[in-house]
Amino acid sequence: MPAKTTSLHVNGKVERVAVDDPDMPLLYVLRDNLQLQGPRFGCGLGQCGACTVHIDGKAVRSCITPLSAVGKRKIVTLEGLGSLDKLAAIQRAFIAEQAAQCGFCINGMIMEAAAFLAHNKNPSEAQIKQALAGNLCRCGTHLRIVRAVKRASASA
């Protein structure tokens, strides 16, 4: 099958990618074609949340989202939220709380929390925990992550 060029709307730009399989998960397009390494491969099964990106503002598991399902919708990755020279409030909050150990899951934590906070301005701790119930962390950084999300909600 010859590689087909597809347009994708990512982090505010239209990107053209050559992909030979429309069923290829979005995660690999982002990581391998577009060199965006914020979204991470954790399970490929939609079980852990490490690959989370926003599609039209919703937190979506990119590891089980085929490229063909994205269409013209707008994708935002961790890189699209902010960078070291221009941090988003939620990234700043995670840094202030030192809310990481190995940090491999953090992409998912920030992307899930950002989508959640967009519609929940002043969540309780229990609501934050529920919102992140589908995101796994192995190092046990949960308490700091909850504090960081709380801090971000307070600073928004």
């Binding site: 099958m1 030979d20 399989d21 290829m24 998960p25 690999y28 990581r31 391998d32 060199q35 390494q37 914020g38 979204p39 991470r40 491969f41 954790g42 399970c43 490929g44 099964l45 079980q47 852990c48 490490a50 990755t77 961790l78 890189e79 939220l81 960078s83 070291l84 020279d85 221009k86 941090l87 990234q91 995670f94 840094i95 030192q98 990481a100 150990q101 190995c102 940090g103 491999f104 899951c105 953090i106 920030i110 229990a126 934050i128 925990k129 529920q130 992140l132 119930a133 589908g134 995101n135 796994l136 192995r138 190092c139 046990g140 950084t141 949960h142 308490l143 700091r144 992550i145 909850v146």
Partner: protein, 735 residues
């Protein structure tokens, strides 16, 4: 992201953080190559650990690596403190076999305690030499000199010289001097401070490069195809089954090692899934439902007597009351969030490997042996990966990448899939302990006798899966870690015998997972001790304090814990509502009976109807001697508690007679956000004591604290990890 050097100034302004060492390996590597082409890595040479360039920038060369615990920030703090240089003029290169000293594996909570102390001595030696050089250059006596921010000044005024000027682009060419004066801890301004971790900001933005992100020019993508049954032999491969997948470069087969290499990652994944291969049948695993019978029936190769005081067996015979119990702890996976990955390049008879191994120097030796080349022809460069918590699959992915690169002559990146990680990472072995104790008529403990059943072997290099499957040279024997540690107890009973029966085999390739053995053994010992306290009618704090009579630090710690937890005695099954009862449990460890002390009180709620345990709260007091970074230590304690609550309540590797079956997060469940307890921490301040490890010890106390709290809540003993609702209900029904 890989090509751009971060703008240091912008970064500092953005975060307010004073660290400038970036964990972007491409940057560090390029930097290292331009600044240093060859250097000594000898453990007794100052130059092995640090260099100072003419601008005054100090680079730390650490053989210990950052596994996500924050320890590299702490190591830089130690270096900057002892040298009197600002954190902003430091940089770090870690785990590069060509540039960093072989300080041993990053394991066992020893990075600060051993590695940090070596670095401190190197820095003190360097500082002394720089002061002597300054005395000559400035023509003043060394005693008239002070150092501030990397600049040496004469107290009498006027004269000064920077470290950069003093070293003048040269090496120190000095042996580590054990007599070099160390700074008085009372004058510390960096050590003991919660300096923010330098690696956290780029981890929050996607600008951090993990092993899983690392790319080498011209790199191909590899995937492994493991046997469907653990011990199966590869009989045939039908390469035509992947011929329609675009970009497949090669199917690599060597013995029972099978892998695919493709131009794209997705191509490699598809090829690994579609490749048709036939394997022999194999069903050599024990039946999981009879695991403990299997362990008990396994041949014992030797007994290690880990303590022997008085005559425990005789004292048991004569005791007024005897108590027996058997405890066990399931097989666990490291279950790293990111499946293991590595990049390797075999070129002109030499191998370069980028790996998240906790032991780059040992991995070099193993890869050289596997490929039949000299160690000097293997260069391993550490690139931080997803947290490993011990010897997980990182080294095996490195060996996979090495074999595939060797076969195709181009750099190959191997990324394990989730089922590779859960199925094939080496496992924490099953642990079984029989305990017996005797009390006299007054309730005093007169005898303690324990028998531990664990595989033989200690620390070492766990054999590389690829080498084993391919029939290439690899280690023989098992290396589960020093898992008999803490099988002896910290209590002074008159008759004690603790024996470890070392087993000839165990179902899965064993290795160490955070607090290996120390956690399992402390679970058995501290939960059984709670049984004795109840039998003696004693308060669990009072009971422990009674038998800790020669340990003032342990005694002080327990008293602090009583205060932190607002201990008012057992709550003994206070009903919360309906079917739910609450309870509290106490526990204590002196890690390896030689270092870090931890005590904890767990608060739990147990649902009698569903069997569900909710761990609500942990109070933890820790004494790890001198603390380098208090927030870093707290982060580790929180992590230890949460991760170990997960291991205690949920985790268990499942298997059939052929293979692991807990291959994803639905079948190997870990704790989720709504289930996480709150944690209160009190750190004992011991700034003038030796620094001890903090990455593991708090994990050791968690299972027993929960077991003891469950007993307090509902009156049943949980003696088998994980404490699943089924086991709780079974215990309640038989009570």
């Amino acid at each position: 992201m890989l090509s751009g050097k971060p703008n240091r100034r912008e970064f500092l302004e953005a975060t307010g953080i004073l660290m400038v060492s970036f964990s972007l390996p491409s940057f560090l590597r390029a930097d290292a190559q331009s600044a240093v082409t060859s250097k000594t890595v000898a453990l007794d040479e100052v130059d092995a650990y640090l260099t100072i360039d003419p601008s005054g920038r100090v680079t730390l060369y650490s053989g210990k690596v950052e596994l996500g615990t924050g320890v590299s920030t702490a190591l830089i703090q130690i270096l900057a403190e002892e040298l009197d240089v600002p954190l902003a003029s430091t940089a770090l290169i870690e785990g590069d076999t060509a540039l960093t000293p072989a300080q041993g594996k990053t394991w066992g909570s020893l990075t600060i305690q051993n590695g940090g102390v070596q670095i401190r001595q190197a820095a003190a030696t360097a500082r002394q030499a720089l002061l002597q050089e300054a005395a000559k250059k400035l023509s003043v006596s060394a005693s008239d000199l002070t150092v501030e921010q990397g600049t040496v000044r004469a107290r009498s005024g006027g004269k000064q010289a920077t470290y950069g000027e003093l070293i003048g682009g040269k090496n120190f060419s000095l042996k580590l001097d054990k007599q070099a004066p160390l700074k008085d801890p009372a004058k510390y301004t960096i050590v003991g401070q919660s300096i923010p971790r330098y690696d956290i900001p780029p981890k929050m933005t996607g600008q951090f490069t993990y092993t899983q992100d690392f790319k080498a020019p011209g790199m191909l993508h590899g995937r492994v195809v493991r046997p469907p049954a653990m011990g199966a032999s590869l009989q045939s491969v039908d390469e035509s089954s992947v011929k329609d997948i675009p970009g497949v470069v090669k199917v690599v087969r060597q013995g029972n090692f099978l892998g695919v290499v493709a131009e794209s990652e997705w191509g490699a994944i598809q090829a690994s899934r579609k490749l048709q291969a036939s394997w022999s049948a194999w069903d050599g695993l024990p039946e999981q439902s009879k695991l403990w019978e299997y362990v008990r029936a396994t041949k014992v190769n030797k007994d290690d007597v880990t303590s022997n005081v008085g005559n425990a067996e005789q004292a048991l015979q004569q005791a007024a009351k005897r108590i027996n119990a058997t405890y066990n702890f399931a097989i666990h996976s490291h279950a790293s969030m990111g499946p293991s990955a590595a990049v390797a390049e075999f070129k002109e008879g030499k191998l370069t490997c980028w790996s998240a191994s906790q032991a780059p120097h040992d991995l070099r030796t193993q890869l050289a042996a596997m490929l039949g080349i000299k160690g000097a022809d293997v260069h391993v460069l550490y690139v931080e990966g997803s947290g490993c918590y011990g010897r997980n699959g990182h080294e095996d992915a490195a060996a996979d990448a090495a074999l595939l690169s060797h076969a195709v002559g181009r750099p190959v990146r191997v990324q394990w899939m989730r089922d590779d990680e859960n199925g094939w990472d080496p496992k924490g072995p099953p642990t079984l302990m029989d305990l017996q104790a005797g009390l006299d008529a007054s309730g005093a403990v007169v005898a303690w006798y324990s028998q531990l059943y664990v595989p033989e072997g200690g620390g070492g290099n766990v054999k590389l899966l690829a080498a084993d499957l391919a029939g290439l040279p690899c280690e023989k024997g098992m290396f589960p870690g020093n898992i008999i540690n803490n099988s002896a107890i910290p209590y002074t009973f008159p008759n004690v015998r603790t024996v470890a029966h070392r087993l000839a085999e165990t179902p899965f390739r064993p290795s160490w997972i955070r607090a290996p053995g120390r956690m399992q053994n402390t679970f058995c010992n501290e939960a059984f001790l709670d049984e004795l306290a109840v039998a003696a009618g004693a308060d669990p704090f009072e009971f422990r304090l009674r038998y800790l009579n020669n340990d003032p630090r342990g005694t002080e710690l327990l008293k602090r814990l009583m205060s932190l937890s607002q201990w008012k005695g057992r709550s003994s099954g206070k009903s919360i509502s309906g079917d739910i009862s609450s309870g509290r449990g106490v526990t204590y460890v002196k890690y390896e009976l030689a270092r870090t002390y931890v005590g904890a009180v767990a608060d739990v709620e147990v649902n009698r109807k569903s069997g569900e345990i909710r761990v609500k709260h942990f109070a933890v007091v820790q004494d790890c001697g001198q603390i380098i970074n208090p927030d870093g230590v707290k982060n580790q304690i929180e992590g230890n508690v949460v991760q170990t609550v997960s291991r205690t309540l949920k985790e268990e590797v499942t298997f059939d007679r052929s293979r692991v079956t807990s291959l994803d997060w639905a079948s190997y469940r870990i704790l989720t956000f709504p289930e996480v307890p709150d944690v209160d921490i009190d750190l004992m301040a011991r700034p003038t004591e030796k620094p001890w490890g903090a990455g593991e010890p708090a994990a050791a106390v968690v299972p027993s604290a929960i077991a003891n709290a469950v007993f307090d809540a509902v009156g049943v003993r949980m003696r088998s990890v994980p404490f699943t609702p089924d086991k709780v209900l079974a215990a309640l029904h038989s009570a």
